[in-house]
């Protein structure tokens, strides 16, 4: 990339430490109605962040119930198998539909995307608010489902169990997922148009921060794949209520057809989860190594490649479903294609860090955790994409470990890294770096103890979704459960210091980390309109225009 050599900005620099003195988006208007009816992308992003973190708490409670029950081979905290089956179902459904899929795009993308483009807002602010209320409606449907006893079908809703045999009421949950799908589609649409139309003069596609490439690729998947989920959920509702027979073999239907419909969305969905997180990591690694990102174009294209390939590999979830050998072969071959762009990103991030001036800040620790955990998650995906080994690993804890390494250890870790990276910008406050690192340590160590054990246990044959298990797996389960409690400690610490930063955290400077993308060129928190006048576009990964100012503990434009 050529260097523009331009000054970081044309507007007068924010006075060091001048935060919260000038009017910002938080103080711009007050009262609950100014939030509930806001069209400000920043406020919408904050509202999403709050409800998504609350959903993470709910999904986490179900996780702790599951892991605690698995402390002993027989009944531990519940005598009722159906209760356990509901816990793992709800853990999956809440985490996937309410937390990880909306996660980064809604909570961070909404806030950061327009500012990174130097724009005032997204292309369709009202559609944005509608997306938020659709999320809330979907969440209410899930809560309704909980109040009506919950569901025990697994988050995958396979037929005919979910359509004919389950004693639980699936309609509220299916409806909730349906509504949430529209939230996702509209957000994706909004972001696509925003990136196409609201880039400032001088910001060509290949001058955008890589976070936006990640968001863009994600948005394309959201728009194209989610409608298939919507149709699938409608068909399931029809099957459950009207017994139409499409998935019922007694009426000539095919249970496996539902799996095809389901995974046609749900495989691309996992890339909805990971692509934004990879985009965050590109920002974190570069900024906190104070070094230009390595291989920008490959990273940008890899996001698009992953999005495209993600649509043609869904059958790898179905290798033992009685799908034909030919289909299995084709899906296995194409599945490996997805691993290559992901590997490229890892290499580029490592090359970025090489000879960088690395600050081991909390966001950087999350980014480093991502690289380690995603490497494991991605490599174990190879075992699952390989036909002969997948026959052994399918439906065992090996798969559970794989998807936790990728969905939690990568996608969620990236989200928490992004939350910590942009927290000063969003809130105007700093959190305790000391406790931030401690919490990251607990989460990282606890995560590996919890889930690495599960790779071993799964390869020894321990099946998933098991309320009881045979004696020989007891020590694995107990180690895994201990790990989950260690992780819990980390998240509790995180909750405490983040709350504390809101109450009396130190005021944040405009640029605490020394980044050069446009969000660091406005105050922390940003003004209501983001920028007084359109900022000048430079190379967002060129940090040489900033220098550290000890007084404000942040970066200011280099004067020399």
């Amino acid at each position: 990339m050529s260097l523009s050599g331009a000054n970081p900005q044309t507007a007068p620099p924010p006075a060091p430490g001048a935060v919260g003195e000038a009017s910002n988006y938080l103080s711009h208007a007050r009262g609950p109605l100014s939030w509930l009816f806001t069209l400000d992308h920043k406020r919408i992003g904050v509202m999403y962040l709050v409800v998504i973190l609350a959903s993470f708490l709910l999904g986490g409670i179900f996780a702790m119930l599951v892991r605690t029950e698995l402390w002993t081979p027989g009944p531990t905290i519940t005598e009722n198998a159906t209760t356990y089956n509901k816990w793992f179902t709800l853990h999956g459904a809440v985490m996937i539909f309410l937390v990880i899929i909306p996660g980064i795009p809604a909570a961070l993308g909404n806030f950061v995307l327009p500012i990174m483009l130097g724009a005032k807002d997204v292309a369709f602010p009202r559609l944005n608010l509608l997306s938020f209320y659709l999320w809330v409606t979907g969440a209410v449907c899930f809560l309704l489902s909980l109040a009506m006893g919950g569901i025990d079908t697994g988050w995958t809703f396979y037929t005919p169990y979910s359509s004919k045999y389950t004693p639980t009421m699936v309609i509220p949950a299916l409806s909730g997922a349906f509504v949430l799908g529209f939230s996702s589609i509209f957000t994706g649409l909004n972001f696509i148009v925003t990136i196409h139309k609201l880039r400032p003069p001088g910001m060509t596609w290949f001058r955008m921060p890589l976070f936006l490439w990640g968001i863009y690729a994600t948005a394309v998947i959201q728009v194209l794949a989610t409608p298939v989920l919507g149709i699938t959920l409608l068909l399931l509702i029809m099957e459950s209520t009207l017994q139409v027979g499409i998935f019922n073999p007694d009426m000539g239907g095919d249970p496996v057809l539902m799996q095809h419909f389901f995974w046609f969305y749900s495989h691309p969905a996992v890339y909805i989860m990971i692509l934004p997180s990879m985009g965050v990591v590109s920002e974190l690694i570069s900024v906190h190594s104070h070094k230009h990102i390595f291989g920008y174009r490959f990273i940008a294209w890899s996001s698009i490649a992953i999005a495209m390939f993600s649509f043609i590999v869904w059958g790898h979830h179905m290798f033992t479903s009685t799908q034909s050998g030919l289909m299995n072969t084709i899906f296995s071959a194409i599945t490996f294609s997805v691993s290559i762009p992901s590997a490229i990103k890892i290499f580029n991030w490592l090359a970025t860090m090489y000879k960088g001036a690395i600050s081991l800040t909390t966001p950087m620790l999350y980014a480093l955790s991502f690289i380690f955990l995603f490497t494991i998650g991605g490599l174990t995906g190879l075992f699952l994409g390989t036909l002969s080994t997948d026959v052994h690993f399918h439906d065992t804890y090996f798969v559970v470990a794989h998807f936790h390494y990728t969905m939690m250890g990568s996608a969620l870790i990236g989200m928490f890294g992004g939350i910590h990276h942009w927290w000063p910008k969003i809130t105007g406050r700093l959190y305790s770096e000391f406790w931030g690192r401690i919490a990251c340590g607990f989460v990282f160590v606890g995560f590996n103890i919890t889930f690495f054990t599960q790779f071993v246990m799964g390869s020894q044959g321990m099946p998933r979704r098991y309320y009881n298990f045979v004696e020989q797996y007891t020590s694995y389960h107990q180690v895994s459960t201990i790990g989950s409690y260690i992780m819990l400690v980390g998240f509790v610490i995180m909750g405490i210091y983040l709350m504390q930063s809101l109450v009396n955290g130190r005021r944040a400077p405009a640029n605490p980390w020394g980044g050069n993308s446009l969000e660091w060129h406005c105050t922390s928190p940003p003004p209501h309109d983001n920028f007084a006048s359109p900022p000048q576009v430079g190379d967002c990964y060129d940090y040489r225009g900033w220098e550290y100012d000890r007084e404000i503990e942040g970066y200011v434009p280099r004067t020399a």
């Binding site: 198998a81 005919p160 050998g325 026959v391 439906d395 044959g461 099946p463 298990f469 045979v470």
Partner: protein, 267 residues
């Protein structure tokens, strides 16, 4: 330095070659897994909520455990009577889903005598994790043949109620029906039958018939009908008056043995 085309091409091409190689190995192994030899010994497998039944067609014998001779390719022909299940033997590295409405299969050749765990590996509802069985690999073909000859029958002297007790476990009734009065997925068998002498004074039990509550006499005919057609007259279980039982294949004499066992449980 913010990019280096040569390195970036290398670290794209080399992983690509590696994954092609990994795919190829996987495919070769899979083709072996998916192609049973022509001379395989066939056993029929029936999966249902929440037990297994293995049927040896040449001998006409049902078993709740999968017994096989050593060093012989064994082909399983699998069907489900209700929801998705999957047959998984970790020790043999074999697994396949069992889909209602069609037959699915897998094959293996066991070389080491012993007893190996069978798991259900596709979530199938409440007692998915209790749907266990065993593969017993006999030390020799003769040993297996001997087992097969005995497997279909009870010792001549064994009374009917004892035979019923064995069937209670082998047929999977134990998963849902308790013997001590505790409510479970199916009605408890304690007190399910009333002696003829006491029928006039005994309370009739309420059952759901075609959507209406009726009161019936607890006699052998009712027990037999419920075993053959569980949905006909629904007695009360943990969830109320609902049916969770799939149709289980029972021979006429097996029904008699089970009824005798229930009768022996008393009130």
């Amino acid at each position: 330095m913010s990019h280096n085309t040569a390195i970036e091409v290398v670290w794209t091409v080399v992983p690509t070659i590696l994954v092609v190689f990994i795919f190829w190995i996987g495919l070769k192994g899979y083709l072996t897994l998916a192609t049973p030899p022509g001379d395989a010994y066939t056993v029929d497998v029936e999966a249902r909520q929440w037990s297994w039944s293995f049927y040896y067609p040449t001998a006409g014998v049902d078993s709740d455990e999968l017994h096989v001779p050593p060093n012989v390719p064994i082909q399983l022909r699998m069907r489900s009577v209700d929801v998705l299940h999957a047959f998984f033997v970790p020790a043999f590295r074999v697994k396949n889903d069992i889909v209602p409405g069609k037959l699915s299969g897998l094959w293996f050749e066991a070389t080491d005598p012993g007893r190996y765990q069978i798991f259900c590996a596709e979530y199938c509802g409440e007692k998915h994790s209790d749907m266990l069985s065993i593969v017993e690999v006999h030390p020799s073909r003769e040993d297996f043949d001997e087992w097969l000859a005995r497997a279909g029958s009870f010792p001549d002297a064994m009374p009917a109620a004892e035979r019923g007790e064995i069937l209670y476990k082998k047929k999977g009734c134990i998963q849902c029906h308790t013997l001590d009065g505790v409510e479970s997925t199916g009605p408890t068998w304690k007190g399910l039958w009333i002696k003829e002498a006491d029928r006039r004074q005994a309370t009739r039990i309420p059952v759901l018939v075609d959507g209406d509550m009726k009161e019936i006499v607890r006699d052998e005919a009712y027990l037999e009908e419920s075993m053959k057609n569980p949905a006909a007259k629904l007695a009360r279980s943990k969830e109320g008056y609902v049916n969770r039982m799939s149709i289980i294949r029972l021979k006429p004499e097996e029904i008699i043995y089970l009824i005798e066992f229930i009768k022996s449980l008393g009130e």
